[in-house]
Symmetry: C2
Subunit: 329 residues, 2 copies
């Protein structure tokens, strides 16, 4: 797969479409009016396990041999990939171990365990999750299911764009802009590959938290730059240290550029999406909509696809964010 | 339209389908497993204005003559019909006055005003909204847009079932059960008319709050029975005094029976839908799902359509309900 392209995504879709939800692409008159543009929200927060990650995990696990399946899998993840790997493993009777930071949202840890995986917590300040996972993979002969830097994962995530394309075709819409959240860059790499093939004039952007804008900076400098990992953000799903080698090689060819948003902008977006789109979105899942609402690029009179990537937010945090809105209303 | 049937709903859909959102029909692996059934959630909370009411209001306003449109409209509503009439009037440059109870959720009053209607608040304990609206209609020669007891409204609401049918056809699914919220009975009358025509063996049920189960009781006694209006419920959208003459005539022919749920069950359902389906649902919009989750009828191994009718809940109440879950978690 050295020349990764849309055909790998079509193949992935053939493999996984019966194991995932075809998520809706939603138009909101309210947000169209507000932004003076035509917005198409892709609701991957409605995806089973609560995020797009099920697409990549299902595609990767689908590639394993029977022998590999018997030996089990191991993965590391802040939470959404963890749930997806655990769920896809459950469906395939595969023993799964998942390395998660002890700071991960409770809902993500609980759900990962609920689907049957053994969760191993680590201290993200002092330990390396990659090292722990690699050791387990080596010692126990388990297959490592990487969170993003793997072409089968990227192809799986890209299937969200195949569904977007199918839905836009029915409406005879040619989109101008695609805004997509970015942690390690797997989702934006896969989906942008597909969309750019179907719509050569589309401008695709990664969107990250302000202090974790490694893809944005790396795109600007044309080389991989790391984040300062002493910083923090509410967007727990987007705190990768740096772009992946594989994802960055794709993204630097395809993306028009990188955008970033503040935690405050993300919180306001979570409120707006709950109040006007009636959906529950986690911080990392709200950054693309946040870039739109805060007009990080010129969007007027454009047709814009906005990825809403996940909805796994702790009820206590969600309640607090929504309540704050009401207090200041 | 004395012999109201599915053709009126197909006609209504022709009239309004460009003015509404085709809302998604969603499957959740989580809830399928939990209920041991196959559930199809119709997400009318994602409908523009936040509820299905836009369908009926759009269809009714579409029937007005140019002269009637110039004279303006008047409506009474606890909130969702109010927003829908206000929004549809705005699109048609129609002057609208809406009579709303002073106890209506703030979000509903604010949104009704935002779309441009003049809101007139009344005290629901001492005043009759019908009387106020009829007086205004008479004095100002405005067309009265009734909330449910009108065949154009019922046909409009029924279009949600046309979309459900189209989506189920693609999946080759024949549903066994339809659960639908019920206030005055317009939505359940319209949608059940359509579904019963397409699936003669389907069992359609109205679902109401325990203390506002007038349709349930009326079906059992085969005559219209009123609620005790001194009682209250969290389901502000479902507090009609009694079934409509028109809606009940339809519902008593078509429905298998009536179900009801407690406010506590509704709150737990709002939490479950936020946590596992990632959607924001108002109390009245959650009763059908609540009847399912609390197994008010035998649902195992059945294919069940669940109407999620609206999402207009005050952020403060929503936050409180979600937070409570976390506290007891």
């Amino acid at each position: 797969m050295s020349t990764f392209n849309y055909t790998h995504i079509d193949e992935a879709y053939e493999n996984i479409n019966s194991k995932i939800l075809k998520t809706p692409l939603i138009v909101s008159e309210y947000f169209n009016k507000l932004t003076k543009s035509s917005v198409y929200f892709k609701l991957e927060n409605l995806q089973w396990t609560g995020s797009f990650k099920l697409r990549g995990a299902s595609n990767k696990i689908n590639q394993l041999t029977e022998k590999e399946k018997k030996r089990g899998v191991v993965a590391y993840s802040s939470g959404n990939h963890a749930q997806a790997v655990s769920y896809a493993s459950m469906l395939n009777n595969i023993n799964a171990k998942i390395i998660m930071p002890d700071s991960a949202p409770t809902i993500k840890i609980k759900n990962t365990e609920k689907y049957g995986a053994k969760v191993i917590l680590y201290d993200s300040y002092y330990e390396s999750r990659e090292k722990i996972a690699n050791e387990i993979a080596y010692k126990e002969k388990r297959s490592l299911i990487k969170p993003f830097d793997d072409l089968d994962i990227i192809a799986g995530q890209g299937t969200a764009a195949k569904e977007i394309f199918d839905d836009l075709q029915k409406k005879n819409v040619i989109p101008d802009i695609f805004l997509c959240c970015c942690g390690g860059g797997g989702l934006v790499a896969g989906t942008s590959t597909y969309l750019k093939h179907k719509y050569p004039n589309i401008d695709c952007y990664s969107v990250e938290p302000d202090d974790f804008n490694d893809t944005k900076i790396s795109l600007e400098k044309n080389k991989i730059i790391s984040n300062d990992m002493r910083l923090n953000s509410i967007c727990d799903a987007l705190l990768a240290k740096q772009p992946g080698d594989v994802t960055f090689a794709i993204n630097k060819k395809i993306l028009k550029g990188g955008l970033s948003v503040s935690d405050k902008e993300v919180k306001d977006t979570i409120i707006a999406l709950a109040e006007h789109l009636k959906i529950v979105v986690e911080p990392g899942g709200a950054v693309a909509a946040s870039a739109l609402f805060n007009k990080k690029i010129n969007i007027e009179n454009k047709k814009i696809i906005v990825m809403v990537s996940g909805g796994n937010i702790d009820p206590s945090l969600f309640s607090k964010i929504i309540k704050k809105n009401n207090a200041t209303d």
